[in-house]
Amino acid sequence: MLIKIAWRNIWRNKRRSLITMASVAFALFFALIMRSMQLGTYDQAYASVINATTGYLQIQAPGYWEKQSLEKSILQSDSLQAKLLQNAQVRALLPRLESFGLLASAESETRPGFLRGIDQELEFEYFKLHEKIVAGSFPTPEQSAVVLAEKLAENLALKVGDSLVIIGQGYQGMSANGKFLISGIADLKNPEANKSTVYLKLTDLQELTGAYQRLSALVVVPENKNDLSALKQSLQSQLDAQDYAVLIWRDMMPELIQAMEADSAGGLAMLFILYLVIGFGVFGTILMLTSERMREFGILISLGMSRFQLALTTFMETSFLGLLGVLSGSLLALPINWYYHVNPIQLGDGMDQMMEDYGMEPIIPFSLDPSIWLNNGGAILLICLILSFYAVASIYRLQPVKAMRQ
C-alpha cells in the first residue's frame, strides 16, 4: 500500500521526476564510462606486465629484488619445491634464472639484453609462452638455442637460424660469454620486454653464467589471484626468512602501481565533484517536493496517518527516484562499456608512445567488473537516501494545523 502510494507520488509531477532521474542517470552514466575505462586500462596494464615479467608471486633470496644480481640467488632444491607444492594454494612453481648481458650479432651493434633462463614446459603450461612465438619455435629438449623477443630481434637484425653472441658477467665475477643458435622469435605483448628479452633454457643459462643449480626466483602460480597476501604469509611461514623472501607483484612494481593510483585518484576527484553537483540537484528536488506538499502532509497527519508511515512513504519515493535514475544510467552505460570491452580503443598519435613507455600495449579495453556498477550506483543511491532524510525530518517537525493553513 505505502509502496503503491510512493510509486504513484513519483508520477504526480512527471517532468520533475524525469529531470531528477535524468540528472542521476547522467552522473552515473558518466561515472560508469569513466571508471570502466580507467579500471580496464589498469587491469590490462597489470596483466600485461605481470605476464611478461614477474608473475604474481615470487620466492627470492632476501635483497635480490633491489640488486637483481646473481650473487643474491637461491639454490635449486627439489625438497623445498616439493614442500611448497603441498600448500593447497600453490598450483605450480616455476624456476627462473635472470641475468644481464650484451648481445651481439654479425649484422649490427651490440645491445644490452635481459637473459631469462626458464623451464620451458612449465612456462608453456602456465604462461602460454609457446603461443607467443611468431617465427620458428622454442628449442627441442636436445637443442641448446635461444628465443628472442620480437623488437630485440629486429634491432639486432637477426632471424631464426642466425646466431647470437652473449657477453656478460656470471656468478661470482666469472665472465659469461657464449654463442647460441636462434630457434625462434616471440612477441611478448609487452613493449618493454619486447625490446630486451632473450629466453634460454634454465640449464643453458646456469651453465653460461656459472651459476650451477642456482635460481633468481621461484615464480609461484597461485590457485587464486585475488588473495595473494594470505598466500604470501602462508609461504613465508613455511620458509626461513633469513634465506628466502616472498614478494607479490605489487612489491616488485611500486612505480607502475603508484602511477595508476595517481591516475585513479584524479578520476575519483572528478567523480566527487560530479556527485556533489548532482547531490545539490537532487536536494533541490527533495526540497521542492517537501515544501509543495506541506499542506497535504498536514491533512494526512490530521486524518490519522502516522508520521512514521508518511515519512516512510516519502523516503520510499525518493529512493525509487534514485533507483530509477541508477537503473537507467546503468542500462545506458552497459552497451557502450560492453562494446569497448570487446573492441578496445586503439590509441594513436602520441598516446601510444606514452603507454609503451609504461610497458603496456597501446589499447584501452573497458572493464566490465560488476564492482564498478555496485560502487558507483551504490554511491549515488546512498547520496539520494541521505538527502531524503531532509524530507523525513521535515515530516517529523511538521505542525499539522499550521501546515494546513498555508
Binding site: 529531470i19 640488486k67 650484451l102 651490440t110 644490452p112 572528478m270 556533489l276 521542492m288
Partner: protein
C-alpha cells in the same frame, strides 16, 4: 525592463533555501571544477618542463642515420653547427654529446648502461647536471676516466665515491671495449629509471675510447630562451644543415606534445561535464519555480504583463542565480589556485609513480588566464540555455485556466 530586473531579484529571495541550494551548487561545482583543471594543467606543465630541462631540451641535432639505428658510427662534425649556435642570441645554452650503449658492472652487479660523453661546462649550463650532484665532485681536472652515476645505480653497484666500475660497449667496428672508470659523483634525477641507466663521462675520454675525433659527436642539444623561437630556429638550422636531422621537443617526445595539445580540450571537457550536471539542477529548480507560481504568473499575464516580459523575468531570475554562484566560484578558485601555486600540493603518497612519470611529488596548480574567461563565458551560456525551457514553459501557461485552479 528595469521593473523586470527588480521583480526577478525579489523573486529569487522568496524561497531562500531553494535559491541558496542552486547558488551553492553552481559555486561549488565551478570552484572544484576549476581547481581540478588547474591541478591537471599544472601537472602537465611540470612534466613538460621537467622533461625538457632534464632530458630532451628544446632542440636536438643528430646525424640523420642515427634516428633509425643509434650506432656509434653515425656521428657528425660539430664544428659548423657549433659556430652557428655560438653567435645566436636566442639560445640559452647548448651542449654536444657523444653516446654509447653498453653494460656497466662492478663485483656486485651488472646492468644496461647508456654512457653519455659530455662537455662538463656546457652540460652544466644546459641540463644543470652539476646541481644534480648529491655527493662527490663534478668532473675534477685531475684523474683519469671520471664517471658520474645515479644514486639508484650506485646502490645496485654498491659503489662509493672513488670506486672503480667497468664499462663495456662496442666501438662500432665489432670490437667490445672494456674500460675502467672511477666514480667521482652521484647525481639524482626525478626518475629512478634514468638514475639507473644514464652514466656521464667526459666527452674526450669517450671519444678517445671509441676512436673518434674531438669534433665527432652524436648529438647537440639546445635550450632556447623563448618557446616561440623553437620552430623558427629549427627551420633555419634545417635550411643551413640539410644533411642533419634537427628535431624539436615535439618530435622527440610526441606523447609530450600530444598531451600538451589536448590539455586545453581536456580541461574544457571537465568543466563542460560539470556544467551539464549543474544545468540539470537549474532546469529543475526553475521549472518548479514556474509551476508553483502558476497562478501568480497567470494573474500577471491577465493584468497585462506581456509574454516577452514574463519570459525575460524567468531568464533574468536564472541569470541572477548564476551571477551569484558563478563569479564567487571563479574568485574562490582563482584564490585557491594562486595559493596552491605558491605552496604546492604534496603528493608524497604517489611520489614513486610520479617520478616514473618524470615529475616531483609536489604539484603546483596553474591555469592560463584565458581559461577563467572561458569558464565564465561557459557558465553564463549554460545558465541561459538551461533557463530557456522553464521560461518557455511559463509562456505556455493559459492565464484563464491557471486562475481557476487552486
Amino acid at each position: 525592463m528595469k521593473i523586470v530586473l527588480k521583480i526577478a531579484w525579489r523573486n529569487i529571495w522568496r524561497n531562500k533555501l531553494r535559491s541558496a541550494v542552486v547558488v551553492c551548487s553552481i559555486f561549488l561545482g565551478i570552484w572544484a571544477g576549476i581547481f581540478v583543471s588547474a591541478f591537471s594543467f599544472g601537472l602537465n606543465e611540470q612534466r613538460k618542463e621537467s622533461m625538457i630541462r632534464n632530458q630532451i631540451s628544446h632542440l636536438q641535432i643528430h646525424n640523420s642515420a642515427w634516428l633509425d639505428q643509434k650506432e656509434v658510427a653515425y656521428t657528425f662534425s660539430a664544428t659548423a653547427v657549433d659556430a652557428y649556435l655560438n653567435k645566436d642570441p636566442r639560445l640559452e645554452a647548448f651542449a654536444t654529446r657523444t653516446k654509447a650503449s653498453g653494460m656497466v658492472s662492478s663485483a656486485h652487479y651488472s646492468g644496461a648502461a647508456q654512457i653519455i660523453g659530455v662537455n662538463p661546462n656546457a652540460e652544466a649550463a644546459l641540463s644543470h647536471l652539476e646541481e644534480k650532484l648529491t655527493e662527490g665532485e663534478y668532473f675534477p681536472e685531475k684523474g683519469r676516466n671520471p664517471v658520474l652515476i645515479g644514486r639508484a645505480l650506485a646502490k645496485k653497484l654498491e659503489a662509493k665515491i672513488g670506486s672503480r666500475i667497468i664499462l663495456n660497449f662496442s666501438d662500432g667496428q665489432g670490437n667490445i671495449i672494456s674500460s675502467a672508470f672511477k666514480v667521482k659523483g652521484f647525481y639524482k634525477d626525478v626518475s629512478s629509471k634514468m638514475e639507473e641507466l644514464n652514466l656521464y663521462v667526459r666527452q674526450s675520454d669517450l671519444q678517445a675510447l671509441l676512436g673518434l675525433e674531438p669534433v665527432q659527436v652524436h648529438e647537440i642539444a639546445a635550450l632556447l630562451k623563448e618557446d616561440a623561437d623553437i620552430e623558427i630556429l629549427q627551420q633555419e638550422l634545417q635550411a643551413n644543415f640539410p644533411a642533419l636531422a634537427i628535431q624539436s621537443w615535439k618530435q622527440l617526445s610526441p606523447e609530450l606534445a600530444y598531451a600538451d595539445d589536448i590539455m586545453t580540450q581536456m580541461l574544457y571537457i571537465i568543466i563542460g561535464i560539470i556544467m551539464l550536471a549543474l544545468s540539470f539542477g537549474i532546469i529543475n529548480t526553475m521549472l518548479m519555480a514556474v509551476l508553483e507560481r502558476r497562478k501568480e504568473l497567470g494573474m500577471l499575464m491577465c493584468v497585462g504583463m506581456s509574454r516577452t516580459k514574463v519570459f525575460s523575468m524567468i531568464m533574468v531570475e536564472t541569470f541572477y542565480l548564476a551571477l551569484l554562484g558563478g563569479p564567487l566560484g571563479i574568485l574562490f578558485a582563482y584564490y585557491s589556485v594562486w595559493q596552491g601555486s605558491k605552496s604546492g600540493l604534496d603528493l608524497a603518497a604517489f611520489s614513486d609513480g610520479l617520478a616514473s612519470y618524470g615529475i616531483d611529488s609536489v604539484i603546483y596548480p596553474a591555469l592560463p588566464t584565458s581559461f577563467y574567461w572561458g569558464t565564465t563565458l561557459l557558465v553564463f551560456l549554460m545558465t541561459l540555455l538551461a533557463a530557456i525551457y522553464p521560461a518557455r514553459r511559463a509562456l505556455k501557461l493559459n492565464p484563464v485556466e491557471t486562475l481557476r485552479t487552486i
